[in-house]
């Protein structure tokens, strides 16, 4: 034969299984597999190896497409340098790693010479402000705190206002974890965004939705619902140091075109990496 080798059904079945096991979800997995079956029937591939290589490329291209040209960390920092202060709002459901991610981001920006201030706008959960305060010390950045039970929108407003007054470079605003089906909490989040906008038109410049890599199909619902109340501009995928693959981002990127900006790979301050689609897709198929 001329190097042609038929790709059998069981190969595609195994591929389907590994995508579903990686939390890619049924709908997105079937879209990928059906498209592959069609191409296989047209003899588009000369070998299984070639099919896998092209599949990798297709998936990482779709993950890159949401990045709108801001692909590397340096390109992201160029964006950050264009606004003063550059305001990032951090949102997501309970326990996903928002506060820890802010500590890591703060440290990274600080090490690049940026003046950073944190806004402790989680005024609800027990010791949330204490937790963020410890991260501020570790990252060597300033923090704005109000008393427990204060209006989170006011904390956000004050943080941005003080950053303007002090000519600081980056504002990171922490918010309380909240489930997207709690409408009053979604309203509160919208109010926080609006109060930041009020003191600085155009802000927040980035709103990161933090997702736990071990989350299942509910992540897509989270992304949809949070996008309705705040301008989600990026995702942070945490706890990728576990065995979960975080395949949920494929469906989110397809549907909402939201890029993954960073990944969390541990609990220490340095355990944050810019998102690399190729490395991510390799891990998905391991």
């Amino acid at each position: 034969f001329l190097g042609k080798r038929t790709i059998d059904d069981s190969f595609l079945d195994d591929l389907e299984d590994s995508l579903i096991s990686g939390d890619v979800g049924v709908k997105t997995t079937l879209e990928i597999i059906d498209r592959l079956r069609e191409r296989v029937s047209k003899n588009a591939f000369t070998s299984e190896k070639e099919l896998i290589e092209q599949l990798h490329e297709t998936i990482s291209d779709s993950l890159k497409s949401g990045m709108k040209g801001v692909e590397t960390f340096d390109q992201f920092m160029e964006q950050v340098s264009m606004k003063k202060p550059f305001v990032i709002l951090i949102v997501g459901v309970n326990g996903v790693g928002k506060t820890t991610t802010i500590g890591k981001l703060a440290s990274r920006f600080n090490k690049l010479g940026k003046k950073v201030v944190l806004g402790a706008a989680d005024t609800f959960r027990a010791a949330a402000a204490d937790q963020l305060e410890i991260w501020a010390k570790r990252a060597e950045v300033r923090i704005v705190l109000h008393q427990d039970g204060a209006d989170p929108a006011a904390v956000a407003f004050d943080t941005v206002q003080s950053a303007l007054a002090r000519n600081e470079d980056v504002v990171l605003i922490d918010t309380a974890g909240r489930l997207h089906n709690k409408l009053h909490l979604m309203d509160e989040l919208n109010k926080i965004q609006r109060s930041v906008e009020k003191i600085l038109p155009g802000a927040p410049h980035e709103v990161f939705l933090v997702l736990d890599a071990s989350t299942g199909q509910n992540a897509l619902v989270q992304a949809r619902e949070f996008s309705k109340v705040v301008r989600i501009s990026g995702l942070v995928l945490t706890k990728l140091d576990g065995t979960a693959k975080g395949g949920i981002v494929l469906g989110i990127c397809n549907e909402l075109k939201t890029p993954v900006r960073f990944i969390g790979v541990g609990e220490q301050i340095e355990d944050l990496r810019p998102f690399d689609p190729e490395i991510f897709v390799d891990a998905l198929f391991e």
Binding site: V93, N94, R125, D212, S214, G216, K239, E267
Partner: protein, 291 residues
């Protein structure tokens, strides 16, 4: 919804004289898909659907006026059976204090659950104390102390960098103070972190808990089986707690964990407040998983 889908499939099948393997294949695929969309583990969904297939070829379905509904009833019944019979409560020991060890992955809701459990036990007349054995997370001890003060339950902490020793001292201090129950909060940990998994095993060995609860976030996907198995291999927990059930996630992880590890789901946490803790009702979760 599944029932309506199956009814339309069976209306077509009616024309043929019996339900065969072939013509229920689509329905079985629909069931498996519904389970996967509910985050049930892929292998568990496969095995579960296989069980339902056998029942689907049974006489009651064939003779039924609405075979679709019959099949869904089988799916539902099978789910309820698998999820586990009646509510299983906390195991208490004869000699005091009874020790409850709480463990799980990062952010699953352990610390909050310790507060909820202490709240419930206090109302039941047990005299609980909580031991703050998460010595790593920033302000973890503060968090627990604040929760404890909300319900007037003592939170014991020691400024030492050894979680096993903290747990041991906490149990000993509680015993001397005549406490009825000690709840030990531990740090979130990954099942692939061998040092931390060894730590929780050593805590167990040091305090011999009657009850070890594995706390799981209800929105966990396919990875639930990996973590549930690994924690099972390390500490053979006696019960499972599903948290954040006030969200809209389908909760299929519960079925996967029940199937693969077999330990009972003892509590469902339904919110951030310390009052929001319910015993587990398998029929309600079955409805939810089916969507």
């Amino acid at each position: 919804d599944l029932s309506a889908k199956f009814d339309s499939v069976f209306r077509k099948i009616r024309g043929e004289n019996r339900i065969t393997e072939l013509n229920i294949a689509d329905s079985m695929r629909d069931i498996r898909r519904a389970l996967l969309e509910a985050d049930v583990n892929i292998q568990v969904a496969r095995e579960f659907t296989e069980k339902v297939r056998e029942k689907a070829l049974g006489a009651d379905v064939l003779k039924s006026v609405s075979p679709g509904q019959q099949i869904v009833k089988h799916v539902y019944d099978e789910l309820v059976t698998l999820l586990g019979g009646s509510h299983t409560g906390i195991r208490f020991s004869q000699k005091l204090p009874s020790v409850i060890l709480v463990c799980g992955l990062q952010g699953s809701g352990k610390t909050t659950f310790c507060g909820k459990l202490a709240n419930q036990l206090k109302k039941q007349g047990k005299v609980p104390a909580i031991v703050a054995a998460d010595i790593y997370r920033p302000a973890a001890i503060d968090q627990l102390k604040k929760l404890g003060s909300q319900i007037s339950v003592p939170v014991l902490s020691y400024g030492i960098q050894d979680a096993v020793e903290v747990a041991r001292r906490g149990v000993e201090e509680s015993r001397l103070a005549g406490r009825g129950v000690v709840i030990i909060d531990t740090a979130g940990r990954l099942h692939v972190d061998s040092e931390m998994m060894d730590e929780v095993r050593r805590i167990k060995e040091a305090v011999s808990p009657e009850e070890i609860l594995f706390v799981v976030d209800a929105m966990t996907g396919q990875d639930a089986v990996n973590t549930a198995k690994a924690f099972w291999d390390t500490v053979s927990y006696t019960g499972v707690v599903m948290t954040k059930m006030d969200g809209d996630t389908r909760g299929g992880a519960a079925l996967s964990i029940r199937q693969v590890v077999g330990q009972p789901i003892k509590f469902l946490s339904y919110g951030e407040k310390l009052e929001s803790l319910d015993p587990f009702y398998p029929d309600r979760l079955a409805q939810r998983i089916l969507g």
